[in-house]
Symmetry: C2
Subunit: 295 residues, 2 copies
């Protein structure tokens, strides 16, 4: 069964778009000072994205707003999150809501209802198991959405529990197999499923192994740039057609300028272009064991 | 070092309050039909809590709004969440924000900044490990807040990963030990710490074991009522003074009436009173191995 989110990703990347994701983590102190000085936080944030998303869109096909940085500004910030999703869509970008939700079934249903109307895909916590993911999978099946399940996160403490040795190998391997299972009946059976995974780019050694456990998963790769990971190490996420991985960067893209730099727009444009080139190169270097149909 | 959240809980329960938590999971279809018919969803929700919290407050000392049910109504719902927290506080209740957040360090900081201003405590996902919890612990240490870490959730699929056999026993045991560790230097060293845990009341067999692994944790016990658990099985969470456990109920309390029942206020009052009595009884039945100082 085809899935709109997967189809869009595939079509865009095969059409030449870079497998690049812009993380939108608004921090007031990092916004251009000249932009709406004195306006309320949520307005400044929205004003920034109104200017910056058109600069990113030609180079980066997915916007990933992290809702934490919006919630920090209360209901107005939450409204800015929804508006940012709309803005990104109006620029033709796909929207991956980095919301990392995870709750029991009936509550997961409420979360899916809350976020899928303005997000093409969302990030999810797997700890509560299958019934907590089911309401999101229903949206993947019936309404063309996608999910990215946390399998191996980019932070240093990820090792603490995600590497724990279990009866089924390290915990992250068990989670990877769940990702593969949850996506089984979804999407084109010969291609990628809408049930993707988050694997920190900071763990290149784990990446190849996790890829073999979930060959049909789009893998979201955070941690490049400020967290120290390098795009060039991410080859194993990609198949021979350059599909299967999505490299994401936040601070390196949208905090690449000093707040008082009048040339901030040019800097963002340059950073986006360079990041896209880096992602394209990484996706075409070595080729991993994704599920790509023969090219 | 004393902690305001723990002190409040302890003082109230020792003063005769029931160890009872009211889960606030607003569902439009379950609101009293006569209340603000035709008003926008967020207004109807807030109007309901404005009437119902004063009925609950004499019997239940903690309000636990689950943010998913508010997010479902977008920014207006999010504003209603914040306002509901304020209303509960104005009724003298403690507010436990059931937000189940969990993200890497800098993002966790944003979440803590977002929710602690209007919540006395929040629920957290542990999967990302210590650095993802640290920003919340800083609020516990410096500003008297509390957290409840997911250890063993109430849903049927909880078994899937939380029971996985690891080098340190079932995964939930490993998480329980982390809860104990994270709370080590927090709160009165002879009493409970502000790092609590969520253990589904639906797993009474696990409860006693988990309690021994984290003797200083307040244990939040969801699953009574609609999910089938019984308060009388929860003795092991409580110490000889009736401290250490918090029994939570949502649907059984605030969906205890038919939407067209004109007597809904009386039903809520009765349900709250009965629930409080049930919780008091459970907390004084058998006594578990909490960390209570001698009575």
């Amino acid at each position: 069964m085809p899935n709109a989110f997967c189809d869009q990703l595939e079509r865009r990347i095969l059409g030449g778009a870079a497998p690049a994701v812009a993380g939108l983590d608004p921090r007031l102190e990092a916004l251009p000072q000249a932009l709406l000085p004195g306006a309320p936080p949520a307005e400044r944030i929205l004003g920034f994205y109104r200017e910056v998303l058109p600069l990113l869109a030609p180079h980066v096909c997915v916007a990933k707003p992290n809702i934490a940085y919006f919630e920090r500004f209360g209901a107005a910030g939450y409204a800015a999150f929804e508006a940012t999703c709309q803005l990104a869509r109006s620029q033709g970008m796909l929207v991956l809501g980095d919301v990392k939700r995870g709750d029991i079934g009936p509550t997961a249903e409420a979360y899916a209802d809350a976020h899928f109307p303005h997000c093409d895909a969302v990030t999810l916590h797997p700890l509560l198991g299958t019934d907590s993911v089911q309401p999101f999978l229903a949206w993947c099946r019936d309404r063309g959405r996608g999910v990215f399940v946390l399998v191996r996160t980019s932070n240093p403490s990820a090792k603490e529990f995600q590497d724990l040795r279990t009866e089924g190998g390290p915990l992250c391997d068990v989670l990877a197999r769940a990702v593969q299972r949850w996506g089984e009946d979804l999407g084109d059976p010969r291609g990628y499923s809408p049930v993707g995974a988050v694997v920190g780019a900071t763990w290149p050694a784990e990446l190849a192994r996790l890829r073999t456990l979930m060959p049909r998963a789009w893998i979201l790769l955070p941690g490049v740039g400020a967290q120290g990971a390098r795009a060039e190490d991410l080859g194993p996420a990609f198949d021979a057609r350059g599909l299967g991985g999505l490299i994401t960067q936040s601070r390196g893209l949208l905090q690449c300028f000093a707040p008082n730099d009048p040339e901030w727009r040019a800097r963002v444009r340059q950073a986006a272009q360079a990041f896209a080139a880096e992602c394209r190169l990484a996706s075409r270097g070595t080729s991993g064991e994704g599920c790509g149909r023969s090219p």
